[in-house]
């Protein structure tokens, strides 16, 4: 196993003592198969127990280890050391307030996600005795990719619109709304449209496409947002030009 000495530059911020963040450098002996998260764990265990960051699964499913690695939004547990030079800069996820070191506040995202009702709203109430809601493979395929979202918020860190206009609902929340809107068992689209087809919703998006480039789960949020725009535009035409088409 080959080992490499890596200079890890980590942005530190202690709300109790610091007025602004500063970089701290750690020299970490990294094994080649390590990911950046392993290097951070090495620092925490051996060099500096005060370093704060979030992680849990170490396998790109929990979505909690998102951070900027050399300026790029990444999951620290999926960013392999061998893909980097001997100097790696680690910043907290961009566009989010820094709580402490690499820990950011996620409230804004959680509130937005909840606002789009990211759960199944059945078309009609059905007693359990009526059995399951059936779905064909094609109906499942229509939204399956959006179910892969792990709420890691890398897409928000990549999105300049979110950085400039913090009110923007953002890529993952709108993709989640789209996921349920596309679900054949769901009847909640009208409720979600009020939130997502607004100025702060999908119309704030200018299709930079950065979200889809950084998404570790290939959800393609940018695609979802454009599809929401197309569907919302069709709604508008139906309502204003062909009122009789309205369901």
């Amino acid at each position: 196993m080959s080992e490499r000495q890596i200079q890890l530059e980590v942005l530190r911020y202690n709300p109790e003592t610091d007025s602004e963040p500063r970089y701290q450098s750690y020299s970490v002996p990294c094994l080649n198969e390590w990911v950046v998260l392993d290097a951070l764990n090495y620092v925490k265990d051996n060099l500096d127990p005060t370093l704060s960051y979030r992680w849990s699964c170490h396998m790109a499913v929990c979505g909690s280890c998102g951070m900027m690695i050399n300026g790029e939004p990444k999951l620290a547990c999926k960013a392999f050391i061998h893909e980097y030079t001997d100097q790696i800069r680690v910043d907290p996820l961009a566009n989010f307030p820094i709580e402490r070191d690499l820990v950011t506040s996620v409230e804004d995202f959680i509130t937005k996600l909840a606002s789009v009702k990211p759960y199944l709203i059945p078309k009609s109430d059905q007693p359990v005795s009526a059995g399951e809601f059936k779905q064909t493979p094609a109906e499942l395929k229509k939204f399956k990719q959006y179910t892969l979202c792990i709420n890691c918020m890398l897409c928000y860190a990549a999105c300049p619109q979110y950085g400039l206009v913090p009110e923007f609902l953002g890529p993952a929340a709108i993709s989640m709304a789209h996921r349920y809107n596309q679900d054949s068992r769901d009847g909640g689209r009208d409720e979600r449209q009020e939130v997502i087809a607004s100025d702060e919703g999908v119309w704030e998006c200018s299709f930079v496409g950065a979200c889809s480039e950084v998404c570790p789960k290939h959800v393609d949020p940018a695609g979802a947002l454009q599809q929401v725009k197309v569907a919302s535009t069709i709604d508008w035409y139906k309502e204003h030009l062909m009122p009789w088409m309205k369901k």
Partner: protein, 127 residues
């Protein structure tokens, strides 16, 4: 203690901070060339309405080095603008046939094909 530190994006220089933002800006800025070209066309119509001499003057201006340069710049910008949009159409307009999505390159390819056919028709009509 809760005292979150907010980093903000530069309102004016943000698009210089990442290559992908620059690519996005290039796509957006190239539409200005197309915008400018529509004015040229309207100007041409106006000259046409003013009579044959005026229109000949307009055509001569188009053939001047500056006119050729402008057309060339618009052509490059328009091609960049259009292809950058063509390439993202599968994301915005996924099409399902049966149980599968139509592969993205077919949707993109269809755009290029229609573009080629329309260009050919325009060329034939123009010659």
């Amino acid at each position: 203690m809760n005292k979150p530190y907010v980093r903000s994006l530069s309102k004016t220089g943000w698009f210089l901070t990442q290559p992908r933002y620059k690519r996005y800006m290039a796509r957006e800025v190239t539409c200005l060339f197309i915008f400018a070209y529509t004015f040229l066309l309207i100007w041409g119509l106006k000259r046409l309405a003013e009579g044959p001499d005026a229109f000949q003057g307009f055509l001569n201006a188009l053939h001047s080095p500056l006119g050729v340069l402008f057309n060339l710049a618009v052509l490059i910008a328009a091609v960049y603008h259009s292809t950058s949009w063509f390439n993202v159409t599968p994301q915005a307009m996924p099409i399902m046939r049966g149980e599968e999505f139509v592969p993205g390159n077919i949707i993109v390819g269809a755009h290029y094909a229609v573009w080629a056919v329309v260009s050919l028709i325009v060329l034939i009509l123009g010659v």
